[in-house]
Symmetry: C3
Subunit: 156 residues, 3 copies
């Protein structure tokens, strides 16, 4: 019996802006991270993710392919993004035509341990810690719960 095939968490083929700060270990590959972002430890960011400027991505978070994040957002600790809804009752596997996209605007704050299904979240929204976001958010406000619901509107 042969041993397992090992690889290391690493930073590969990532396009960085200026003065991005990273605390290793992280696993970042094929993504773009804008200027003045912070990436905490134990973070994974997948291929083709686009992250704008001045975003904080805190420890333990996972950002999957097809996620686009604007500027000035705060992604808490242990936040998980989803691109596969298992619509056929199974993972899409390599069939990327079944993956769905997520779009995060600007000045969005996502609390720790939140789970973000493939949705759009408009600018200036707040997602409570531990929430599960299952639908698009088009009105700036505070959303919380599983599934996340509007708690109060924010005037902008």
């Amino acid at each position: 019996m042969s041993g397992p095939i090992m690889s290391q968490s690493q930073i590969v083929n990532v396009q960085f802006g200026e003065t991005v700060k990273i605390v290793e270990p992280v696993n970042l590959y094929g993504c773009s991270i804008g200027s003045d972002c912070f990436i905490g430890p134990f973070v994974e960011i997948q291929r083709s993710v686009l992250i704008g400027e001045r975003n904080k991505i805190q420890s333990h978070s996972f950002i999957c392919s097809l996620v686009t994040i604007g500027n000035d957002n705060f992604i808490g600790h242990g936040v998980m993004f989803i691109n596969d809804l298992f619509d056929s009752g199974r993972p899409a596997g390599g069939d990327k035509s079944k993956w769905k996209a997520t779009l995060i605007g600007d000045y969005v704050s996502i609390g720790s341990n939140a789970t973000i299904l493939p949705v759009s979240i408009c600018s200036y929204s707040v997602i409570g810690a531990g929430s599960v976001v299952t639908k698009d958010i088009t009105v700036p406000g505070v959303y919380a719960g599983n599934p996340a619901k509007l708690i109060r509107k924010l005037i902008k």
Copy 2:
């Protein structure tokens, strides 16, 4: 004052099948992982866990002792398994007679950030991201929420 007693996340006493792929750092000890599995970064798998073939265990997940996983399953990112229900109001600690087992069938898909209490989940089930599974799942279907409830049946 003496310093802390340090050890490193590592792979110790693990029985591997063929062509298992692992992205370090991981902490795997005393478990069995079947052929053609994938183990993502920042994963911990404890003593006596049995994992069959062709399973994907994604980043940030934790699989505790007394969990048995069949074949062809997808375990998302940040999925946590439980074996101690604190039934006496406290952790069982070293008293393994109080730990409870979990059994995952085949072709089960577990969404990211899900929490799996000690239950059985039948083959072909789908667990939504962010769900908390508190009861046995005996009918193939899509389950979601906290606690997880049947959303729709899957015909098999």
Copy 3:
């Protein structure tokens, strides 16, 4: 274009009691950890956190500034603490006057993937796995759900 500014997860300026056990990688800075504690892998503990004696902090957990933990507690896997409620609709950022404190008593058991907002949790309480604790807990009992509610009282 310059490359990112890299740092490593590490243990810096931590005050340890006797026989503390740690599984690296961890990111611990500026905190105090009492005797006979266990700190699992992939854990981050921030500046000024005070942790008493005989606590187990399991893998993947994050403990933020302004958290104080007594003695003999069990913090499960993937537990996230919060100190910023985004009260103004935005992260407090460097304005620590807006951060709120959390106080965990003694003999508290917190299940895996739980999310703990800035609250007090009294001694001998049990928090179910996957719960989101949004209010002070002043009566010893078992609490679960999102938001966490009393499931049953524990006589002490």
